[in-house]
Symmetry: C2
Subunit: 369 residues, 2 copies
C-alpha cells in the first residue's frame, strides 16, 4: 500500500487521523496549500514547513501544459523539481479543464481542449491523467472526473456521474505506481441520490481514499453543507475523505464536523496577495486607511514572520507601495492561520470537545467573512 | 561619535576596514542591498542576514513621500518599521529628486518638486533632508547634494559643486542625533579640478565619512574609473569612502582597487527580478531556452536557497510561468553572489593578494556583462 490511514479518535462525526505517505506523515484533518505551478506562490518550502504545512497540492493541468510532465520526470520528479520533500497530492486536471480551458469536446474517451498557455489542442483521457501524475510522482493522485457547474440540470449531472465512474475504473486499471495512492472522486452535484449512486459504484472499486468533488463551482456555501455531510456519511470509515477546493475557515469547521479529513484551497494565498489577512475575528483588509498608523501585529499570538516582526501599518504601507513583500507576508500569515486552525481542530477532536470548540470559533469568526 | 572606522589592512590602494555603527559592525569593503521603500524587494530580513548582508540602504525620498518620516518615527523608527535590526544607511533624497520628481525648481534654499506618488508639490531643503533622516533614525545619513547629469556643462557642474558644499554646511549645522553619522558627498562630474575643490571644502568641514556622488547618471562605466580613483585619493585615509549607486561586480573590483570601502546598487535585486543571475562567469539569462531542461544549479558552490534546492530548469519554469518565486530566488542568489564577491575581496586584501585576485576574477567574469 502506498499510504496508510489510521483513525485515532472520533468526536461526533469529526475524525482525528494519521495519514502515512511515502514522503512522510500527515495529521488529519489537514489543510493543503495550493502550489499550482510547482510553487506555493511567493513562498519557499522552508517557509511552508515553518508555517506547519505537512502536505501540498499541485495542479496536474498546469504542470502538464508547462513545463510538461515528461520534463519534470526527467528532472527527478515533482518533489525534487519544486524542492518540497514532504507529501504532495496532485489533482487530475479535470476541474481545470472544465474551468480554464478555452474550448473543449467531451466524450467517454476523454476531453479535448485548448491550452490556456499557448492555445494548442490537447486531449486528456483517464489513462493520460494517470500517466501524467505517475510522471510527476505525487504521493496521492486523483482519478479524472467530469465536473459540471453547480446549476447543471439533472441530465447533465447524471451523465457526469456515469462518466466519472467509467473514468475511475479506467484510471484504476491504468495506475501502476506502488508508491502512489489513487483516490476516486464522488460527483453528483447537490443531488443526494446521484451522490449515493456515485459513491456506491466507486466504493465497489475499492480505492484507498475518496474525494468529494463538484463543490467550489459557484454554489452558495450554505447549500454545500448538507450535501457534504450526507456524502461523507456514505464513504468508508477506514479511508481518508477529501473535500476538494474548499474553503473558507468556517467551511472547514462544518466539513470536519461532517467527517471530512482533507482540504485544499487557494484562499490563504490568493487573499493574501490581495491584502486580506485571516484572523480569529474574521478578515482584515490591509489596504484600508484604518490600518495606516496601527502599530499592532495582525495577531498577538501568531508565530508567523508577519506577526513576529511587523505592524499593520507596515503591511498597509507595503500594499500601497506595491511591494512584493506584502503578498509574501500575508500569504505566510494566512497559511500559518490555516495550519493553526487545523491544529486546534485536531486538539479539540482529541479532547472530545469539538462541537463546543466549533461553536465558539464560529461565533468569534463571524459568518460574513 | 556615532560610528567608528578602523583601517585593518591595506593592499595597494585597496583597504580592509571595520565600521562600527549603533546597530552593529560592518566589514569593509561592503555592499549594501537597496531597500528603497523600507523593504529589499521580495526578501525578508532573515533572508538578507543568511545571505551575508551586514547593512542595507533605504531611500529617503521614497519614504518621505510614502508612508512619511513622521509616521515611521511614531512607529519606532525605520529599523523597527522594516524589521531590520542591523545598520541602515539612508541617502538624502537628492538623487531621486533629480531623477524621479516630475517638475522642480532649484535654488540655494532647496529643491521644489512634484511627488511621483500623488503629484503634490513639495520642497526639500538641506535642513529638511537631515530632519527626515533623523526621524527615520538611520545609522548613517547623507547630506543633500545637487546631482547633475553626467553630460552637464562646466557651468552647471561648478554651480552644483558650490551648492552641494553650501548645503553640506547647512546639513552639518542642522544635524542633531548623536547616534547617527552624517556623510558628505563629493560632486564634480568627470572634472578632476572640480572634484578636488569639492573634496577640499567638505574635508575642511570634518565629516565622519565621504561619498563619491554623481556616478550612475548615464556615463559610460569606463569613464568613471579614473575619476573614482583620483577622487578617492583626495579623501582622508581614516574615514570611510562610499561610492553611491555603483555597481556591477567589475565596477566594484575597480573601485575597491581605488580605495573605496562602501557600495550600494539595485542591480542584484532589479536584475534578479528580470531573470538575470550573476555567476562567476558572467550573467545567466534564465528565460533563455538553453536553461529549459538544465538540471544544474546556478552555481555549484553557492549556499543560497536557489542553488541549494533548485535546477536552472525550475528557475526557467518559474519565470515563464510568471511565478513570484522566480524573482525571489534570483534576488536571493544575486545578493548572496554580491556578498560572497565582497567577502572574497576582503580576504584577498587581508592576504595581500588583491591585485592578483582582481585580475583573475575580471578575466573569469568578462567585461561585457
Amino acid at each position: 500500500m502506498a499510504i496508510r490511514f489510521e483513525l485515532l479518535a472520533r468526536d461526533g462525526q469529526a475524525r482525528l487521523g494519521r495519514l502515512t505517505t511515502p514522503h512522510g506523515v500527515v495529521e488529519t484533518p489537514t489543510f493543503m496549500p495550493v502550489g499550482t505551478q510547482a510553487t506555493v506562490k511567493g513562498l519557499l518550502p522552508e517557509q511552508l514547513r515553518a508555517a506547519g504545512v505537512q502536505m501540498v497540492l499541485a495542479n496536474t493541468y498546469h504542470l502538464a501544459l508547462r513545463p510538461g510532465a515528461e520534463l519534470i520526470a526527467q528532472l527527478g520528479g515533482l518533489h525534487r523539481f519544486m524542492g518540497w520533500d514532504g507529501p504532495i497530492l496532485t489533482d487530475s486536471g479535470g476541474y481545470q479543464v472544465f474551468s480554464l480551458a478555452a474550448i473543449r469536446r467531451i466524450g467517454d474517451y476523454g476531453v479535448e481542449f485548448r491550452s490556456h498557455v499557448d492555445g494548442s489542442l490537447l486531449t486528456l483521457t483517464p489513462e493520460r491523467a494517470v500517466e501524467i501524475q505517475e510522471l510527476l510522482g505525487s504521493d496521492i493522485a486523483m482519478c479524472l472526473d467530469e465536473c459540471p457547474p453547480f446549476d447543471a440540470g439533472e441530465t447533465v449531472l447524471r451523465e457526469a456521474v456515469r462518466r466519472t465512474c467509467h473514468w475511475a475504473e479506467r484510471c484504476r486499471q491504468a495506475h501502476r505506481r506502488s508508491d502512489q495512492a489513487l483516490f476516486a472522486i464522488v460527483q453528483g452535484g447537490l443531488d443526494l441520490a446521484l451522490r449515493q449512486q456515485c459513491a456506491r459504484t466507486l466504493i465497489d472499486m475499492d480505492f484507498p481514499g475518496y474525494a468529494l468533488g463538484g463543490f467550489s463551482v459557484g454554489e452558495p456555501p450554505a447549500s454545500m453543507y448538507p450535501v457534504v455531510a450526507a456524502t461523507a456519511g456514505m464513504l468508508p470509515e477506514n479511508k481518508p475523505r477529501y473535500l476538494m477546493g474548499v474553503g473558507r475557515p468556517q467551511d472547514i469547521l462544518e466539513a470536519v464536523a461532517a467527517g471530512v479529513d482533507m482540504f485544499d484551497c487557494v484562499l490563504p494565498t490568493r487573499n493574501g496577495r490581495n491584502a486580506q489577512a485571516f484572523v480569529r475575528g474574521g478578515v482584515l483588509r490591509l489596504r484600508n486607511a484604518v490600518h495606516r498608523t496601527d502599530p499592532r501585529p495582525l495577531e498577538d499570538d501568531c508565530p508567523c514572520p508577519a506577526c513576529q516582526h511587523y505592524s499593520r501599518a507596515y503591511l498597509h504601507h507595503l500594499f500601497h507601495a506595491e511591494e512584493m513583500l506584502g503578498p509574501i507576508l500575508l500569504s505566510l500569515h494566512n497559511i500559518t492561520f490555516y495550519q493553526r486552525w487545523m491544529a486546534e481542530i485536531r486538539q479539540a477532536i482529541a479532547a472530545g470537545r469539538f462541537a463546543e470548540y466549533r461553536a465558539a470559533r464560529l461565533a468569534q469568526y463571524g459568518s460574513d467573512n
